[in-house]
Symmetry: C2
Subunit: 258 residues, 2 copies
């Protein structure tokens, strides 16, 4: 067994693309923890959710290979990146997957649209302890220092303790001068409203451009992730890939038959 084999293997991906500041700050923070393989989209893939590419083939290119750090850029979605890395590029199963650091929050219902969380779920489905990390600042030159620290702290805890099967973590860090600490939270109930800016294209046709305002439908719940972020805490939500509502399953039993 080589020296590298003793170190944890950590797969890093994101949805902002391999060139984004957020993933590079994450690589910097996580690098001391193990052998790092970065397998990330070759450009922005925000809002790609759990999308997969099946109609066309995808490609990947080696960007960089240094001691314990290998970086690939892939033409696919964040989920494609995870699938391709696991199936064709890694010679063993990673001990950890981290997606991020996303430029912008992925709290509350945003998890269902997020490519960062799509990749995190994919790691979880493959049986890898997986963490998505996001900062509540969309700017390309945001300060990722604290988000990277919380990402590293969480990664260390997960490497040490593991995670229950079928559960991954969604970490959001507020973009404020001094984060107060970590809160373990639930996914905030809410949705987006006023979602389109309506305009005209160059030939006079009407076009719709996605925008929106988040409506928090449970603002007084001190246990949810929006409350934590609004109050200066980093929010850690355990998400499960079994979405069955077992209570409702019992309720619907009377629909059976026919």
């Amino acid at each position: 067994m080589t020296k590298n084999r003793i170190k944890p293997l950590i797969l890093i991906t994101n949805d902002d693309g391999v060139q984004a500041l957020g993933i590079n700050k994450l690589i910097e923070a996580i690098r001391p923890l193990g052998e790092i393989v970065v397998f990330a989209p070759d450009g922005p893939r925000s809002g790609m959710s759990g999308a997969i590419t099946s109609i066309i083939p995808i490609r990947a290119a080696l960007v960089k290979k240094e001691d314990d750090l290998t970086v690939y850029a892939c033409s696919g979605t964040p989920v494609d990146c995870v699938k391709l890395a696991l199936n064709e590029f890694l010679d063993r199963k990673p001990d950890l997957l981290i997606a991020g650091i996303n430029h912008g929050s992925n709290s509350a219902i945003c998890i269902i649209y997020s490519g960062t969380i799509g990749a995190t779920f994919e790691g979880c489905v493959a049986g890898i302890p997986s963490i998505g990390v996001s900062l509540t600042d969309h700017s390309s030159h945001a300060d990722f220092t604290q988000a990277a620290n919380y990402g590293k702290l969480t990664a260390e805890k997960v490497l040490k303790n593991g995670l229950p099967n079928g559960v991954c973590l969604n970490l959001n860090v507020p973009a404020i001068p001094k984060v107060k600490g970590l809160k373990v939270c639930s996914q905030t109930k809410g949705r987006w409203t006023e979602e389109f800016q309506v305009g005209k294209g160059p030939f006079g046709n009407t076009v719709y451009w996605l925008t929106g305002v988040f409506l928090n439908e449970d603002p007084d719940n001190v246990l949810n992730d929006e409350w934590a972020l609004d109050n200066g805490y980093a929010a850690l939500v355990p998400l499960k890939i079994d979405m069955t509502d077992y209570a409702v399953m019992e309720m619907l039993k009377e629909w059976e038959g026919n």
Copy 2:
């Protein structure tokens, strides 16, 4: 109040595109139940999950307007379709959303990749009772008769009884001569394996084309959707949009602090 206002308003979408046989068979089956608005992608969007389009604007075109049936084609993803219909095209909130009938199953873990389920979740987030319907046959000329019947039966039940807030339904129908009946199920634990066909592009570069074999990790569970489908039943799974694992949330409380 006009006559139309008394009828339920039903929003229909899919991920195979407005031209697909599956959605047209669904429209045919559902049409007697209310006023129908179809707002579907203008072409195939399989595997788009909950993806949203934010980098470019989207468009929509009226395809057809008849008594109680209006059909739009949209350049966006399935989720974009639902968002745009609700925000800009409908003058009231639909009483029901149905996505499908998908060409191919969306059982087990496939829900996290499925554009059909992405659209279904989006309806649910907006507070609309929502159903995704899929047939276990990918072919463009599949026989949708039974899937359409089960879709209609489920739609009637949902229109009559409603659904709990935050819960939507995933209906899969097996492509067999005679479906045995409806089973209320849980999401099967499993994942895809052997996921890529590796080949060469025209310039000699290596390309990876998504394929795969589903691995059922809980094959003996008679309560899950794969079991139901394998045994000739239509499988109805209630899915919730709150993915928080509350038990794990308690376990992780000791990670709180800095």
